[in-house]
């Protein structure tokens, strides 16, 4: 197609601001996908992506749009991963576009993550088109958000389409603006071929595929191509596009986006960011920006049942086919046996991989506490790179250690600045800068050690800000730090899988917290078990797991022999799944306890949340009522007459059918609570609801409000009925 009629763009949005929904509507409007075939949110094809509402792997969809002037345009929508761990992948996907649609939730405003990606897009000279989404929600404030976009990012947003991706309202305007404002590609169709790989995928039938954006020249089957960074050469067997199904085409020409299948064995041979060129007429220079991505977070992954080691290896190899950023090597642990030391781009990446291993490969896993990569300067002058606490040399041989630091930027409503700064300070953060970007939005910059944020920083941040703060980080440098290895002993035996490297000042509280946690998760055994934390042989904390006193079935007669045998079988099975550390049997999840040390404050539901649950339950059981002559059951979201019982959608809350904006993944239908963000900022106290302009009635049942100083719960908790 003529380049002037091609538009390559991506969508930038914060998690849950509606990127995928908008993409779906675009595909519908361009007849790419018939409405009836629409499986909600087509772009996210992995289960986990769907459930978490995030995109893990980028993909691209080709659409044809007939503009008002009657001309047909080819749209290539390139999907970008939406998480901090995948910044490099995002930057490559952006590189493949000329424009970016910036989606901002009209009820939420701009988040740190969005901001980071917008800057990335601007750095890559992309035309950014702001779009204000979710204007159908009663709590939407498009005006405010428009000003926010103008003030914070500095983009004119007066003409920004105000859409509802959910209902399809005004989505047409977005398409029209893409034609008008996104520049057409301007490569040289006859020059030497240059194609940027912005993603890789492994397909069981086609082998390793590269998603490319052709800048100059063309790629067609039969061509011999070279990957310019790795030097590998391949024969192109097929080129095609996603519509979003596979569709082969004759060639991909300058300006187009699609996939290339060649005799590529693994995704490692073609790396994201690399440039493909024609071997016969090679380009002089690759496209700029190629980088090798290094894992930042490591952890040990072991099969819960040692005999599944082979299965685990096979599963990791399969995942690796699709994910070049995953690294793993064999490792053995005294407590856990044979397993793998795996490297990840970040914590989320780690969670996704472990979850996929468990879900897609049906494996039970034990993961050890994550570690970052430390630099250890030895007395001998040598530098060691340590990603496993177990391999840390004896302290007497170490001159000093260095740890990776990150630059963290946090955006939050001003009410939470205090608690958030306290959190950063507690995590050894160094304050850098604070900016009031608007009267109710603050950007805080901190330098933090990566090792502090890989544990529970994100969760704590969410809980301290009631879910409103957003967070982004980038790796800064290595700094000298006073680090020690914290070991844990069970009945006197050291458990290598629990060892972790921490800052000296954090060792004592951490040791105590982990011991307390272990005391709870290690089941009582026949003998008393001392649980100790130690630094280099010095015990710094101790707890005791009391001995079990009775472990016997009280009753067993003729009729229930088989049943009692099954119970024993179950008990035996439970024991088998436990790991033996010296004399102590430890359940698999105990090894995660080092990781999951966090304020229990976040576990305590906010009293209002409980109230919501109560009201929702009440509503769902409410009798039918007469509405416009029709007898019907009240549903969440119904307006009701003042004073009546169904008035639960009121004040800061509303009940809706559909997905909860902060809810855990997977919930797509059923009643949910929606928060009116305006009114839920800052601790709510008795009587607060009085100032709230009722949108759907009055808030009833608000009997007990939390007092100041009490930590609220994350509004992520969903209500399932």
């Amino acid at each position: 197609m003529d380049q002037s009629h091609i538009r390559n763009f991506c969508i930038i949005a914060h998690i849950d601001h509606g990127k995928s929904t908008l993409a779906d509507r675009m595909m519908e409007l361009t007849d790419t996908v018939a409405k009836r075939d629409m499986e909600a949110q087509l772009l996210d094809s992995m289960d986990i992506e769907r459930e978490r509402g995030i995109t893990i792997k980028a993909s691209a969809v080709r659409m044809f749009y007939t503009a008002q002037d009657g001309d047909q345009y080819m749209f290539n929508l390139i999907d970008t991963p939406g998480h901090v761990d995948f910044t490099y992948e995002v930057s490559r996907a952006l590189k493949a576009c000329e424009g970016a649609v910036l989606v901002v939730d009209a009820t939420q405003g701009i988040e740190a993550q969005t901001l980071a990606n917008v800057y990335l897009a601007i750095d890559n000279d992309l035309e950014v088109l702001p779009v204000i989404n979710k204007i159908d929600l009663p709590s939407a404030e498009p005006e405010r958000v428009m000003h926010e976009i103008e003030d914070v990012i500095g983009l004119p947003a007066e003409d920004a389409p105000r859409v509802s991706a959910k209902t399809g309202l005004n989505v047409e305007d977005v398409l029209a603006q893409i034609v008008e404002r996104v520049p057409a590609p301007s490569g040289d169709p006859d020059g030497p071929t240059k194609a940027l790989i912005f993603d890789c995928l492994y397909d069981n039938y086609k082998g390793a595929l590269s998603y490319v954006r052709v800048f100059d020249g063309a790629i067609r089957p039969g061509m011999r191509i070279r990957s310019m960074a790795t030097g590998h050469e391949f024969d192109v067997t097929e080129v095609g596009v996603f519509t979003p199904q596979w569709k082969t085409v004759d060639e991909l020409t300058a300006g187009e986006v699609g996939y290339v299948a060649a005799s590529i064995k693994s995704v490692e041979e073609t790396k994201v960011g690399d440039t493909l060129t024609d071997v016969e007429h090679p380009a002089q220079e690759p496209l700029p920006g190629y980088m090798k991505v290094n894992p930042m977070v490591f952890c040990g992954i072991y099969p819960a049942d040692g005999s599944h080691y082979g299965d685990l290896m096979e599963a990791l190899e399969k995942l690796k086919l699709n994910d070049a950023s995953l690294s793993f090597e064999k490792e053995t642990s005294a407590a856990l046996g044979y397993g793998f030391r795996c490297g990840f781009l970040g914590l989320l990446h780690m969670e996704i991989i472990t979850e996929r291993l468990e879900r897609e490969f049906d494996l039970d896993l034990v993961t050890t506490s994550p570690s970052v990569v430390y630099r250890v300067k030895m007395m001998t002058g040598e530098t060691l790179i340590i990603d496993n606490p177990a391999s840390l040399p004896d302290p007497s041989e170490i001159d000093y250690m260095e740890e990776p630091m990150v630059k963290a930027s946090i955006m939050t409503p001003p009410d939470f600045v205090g608690p958030i700064m306290e959190l950063c300070q507690n995590n050894r953060g160094v304050f850098e800068h604070m900016d009031y970007i608007e009267k109710d939005r603050v950007k805080i910059l901190y330098t933090l050690p990566l090792n502090e944020i890989i544990y529970d920083f994100f969760d704590s941040l969410k809980s301290r800000s009631r879910g409103y703060a957003s967070f982004d980080y980038e790796l800064k440098d290595y700094q000298k730090s006073d680090l020690v290895r914290l070991d844990f002993l069970l009945n006197g035996d050291m458990c290598d899988a629990l060892s972790t490297i921490v800052h000296k000042d954090r060792a004592y509280p951490k040791g105590r917290a982990v011991c307390e946690k272990l005391k709870d998760v290690i089941p009582r055994q026949q003998f008393e078990i001392p649980v100790q934390a130690a630094i280099g042989g010095k015990i710094i904390a101790r707890e005791t797991v009391k001995a079990v006193r009775k472990d016997v079935l009280a009753k067993c007669y003729g009729g229930d022999i088989s049943r009692k045998k099954k119970l024993l079988e179950k008990q035996k099975e439970g024991k088998k799944r436990m790991r033996q550390v010296g004399t102590v049997s430890v359940p698999s999840d105990a090894f995660m306890s080092v990781l999951r040390i966090t304020d229990d404050r976040r576990l305590r539901p906010h009293p209002l949340l409980r109230e919501e649950v109560r009201l929702l339950r009440f509503l769902l059981r409410a009798p039918r009522y007469d509405r416009g002559g029709v007898s019907r059951r009240p549903v969440p979201g119904d307006r009701a007459k003042p004073g009546s019982a169904a008035l639960c959608g009121a004040g800061p809350f509303r009940f809706l059918w559909g997905r909860h904006p902060h809810g855990p993944a997977g919930e797509r239908s059923g009643p949910h609570l929606e928060y009116d963000t305006q009114h839920l900022r800052g601790p709510l106290r008795r009587g607060d609801h009085r100032g709230v302009q009722p949108r759907h009635g009055v808030l009833r049942g608000l009997r007990e409000a939390p007092r100041r100083g009490r930590e609220p719960a994350v509004p992520g908790a969903s209500i399932r009925q």
């Binding site: 006193r549 079935l553 009280a554 007669y557 088989s562």
Partner: protein, 275 residues
């Protein structure tokens, strides 16, 4: 009276607790007074061998509660007392209440304390423990239940009755249908109303003998095991034998495979060694 006259010589009454509030909490439909009436009626009818079922670890029960019940029951002087720790069975209303946090059970240690105190009390009152949860005055151990714990053959007749007997090269356990209509229909057609038959191979049978036999304070007579299976327990389960030994749970009596009191407290753990 009729039962006694028909030849029934032992009666078992399920009291569980002498505290009416506790009875209510676990959904029992009787009171302590009603039990007393029944107990006296049984004695009047001439029953010389009566068992009373008791429980500890009930929701809200304290050690004082439990000892009070034991005191009252011992004062009545039944020949046999079964004292069970509450088992929270999956699917029961109580199970649901506990899972939902509506009902709180005494913790592990409190239950163990009750059990220990109860056993000491019963011993002092002349009830001898002969099985995990069963106590009797000398000579009044339940002959019926001992058959189960010896894994000896028994035949059950009637709807839903269980039987257990040796077959050819295997042990058989079968049960009758639970439907009275099917029971009638089958018998009228001259067929056995068997619902399910389990074929237990000698290895399983050995395990069952261990599982049931070790419940008894006196355990399994060495000779009996040898006669039944042609090899000793040490040979049949060498690893388990050593594991139990390492815990110091075998009693000293060389003529029997029996557990010490501590071993009986950990019977499940011990049995897991045999699987």
């Amino acid at each position: 009276m009729k039962l006694r006259a028909a030849g029934v010589n032992r009666l078992s009454l399920g009291l569980q607790s002498a505290n009416d509030d506790l009875l209510k909490a676990v959904g029992r439909i009787h009171t302590y007074d009603q039990f007393l009436t029944a107990y006296r009626a049984a004695r009047d009818a001439g029953f010389q061998n009566i068992n009373v079922d008791l429980m500890h670890g009930l929701p809200g029960q304290t050690q004082a509660d439990y000892l009070d019940t034991l005191q009252k029951v011992c004062d009545l002087g039944p020949e046999h007392i079964s004292a069970y720790a509450l088992i929270l069975e999956d699917g029961t209303p109580l199970y649901k209440q506990v899972k939902a946090g509506e009902t709180v059970l005494p913790d592990e240690d409190a239950v163990a304390d009750m059990e220990d105190a109860g056993m000491a009390f019963l011993k002092q009152r002349g009830y001898e423990r002969y099985e995990v949860s069963n106590f009797a005055k000398p000579g009044f151990a339940c002959k019926h239940n001992l058959i189960y714990w010896d894994d000896a053959p028994y035949l059950g007749f009637g709807v839903a009755a269980h039987s257990s007997a040796p077959g050819e090269g295997e042990w058989l356990r079968w049960s009758n249908t639970e439907s009275i209509l099917e029971y009638l229909r089958k018998l009228k057609r001259g067929r056995l109303p068997t619902a399910e038959t389990l074929h237990i191979d000698p290895r399983e049978e050995m395990f069952e003998v261990v599982m049931l036999g070790l419940r008894k304070v006196k355990g399994i007579p060495r000779q009996a095991f040898l006669d039944r299976f042609g090899l000793s327990l040490e040979k049949a389960f060498p690893d388990a034998w050593l594991n139990v030994q390492a815990n110091g749970w075998w009693s000293d009596d060389p003529a029997r495979y029996a557990l010490t009191e501590q071993g009986m407290d950990h019977l499940n753990t011990a049995l897991c060694y045999f699987r």
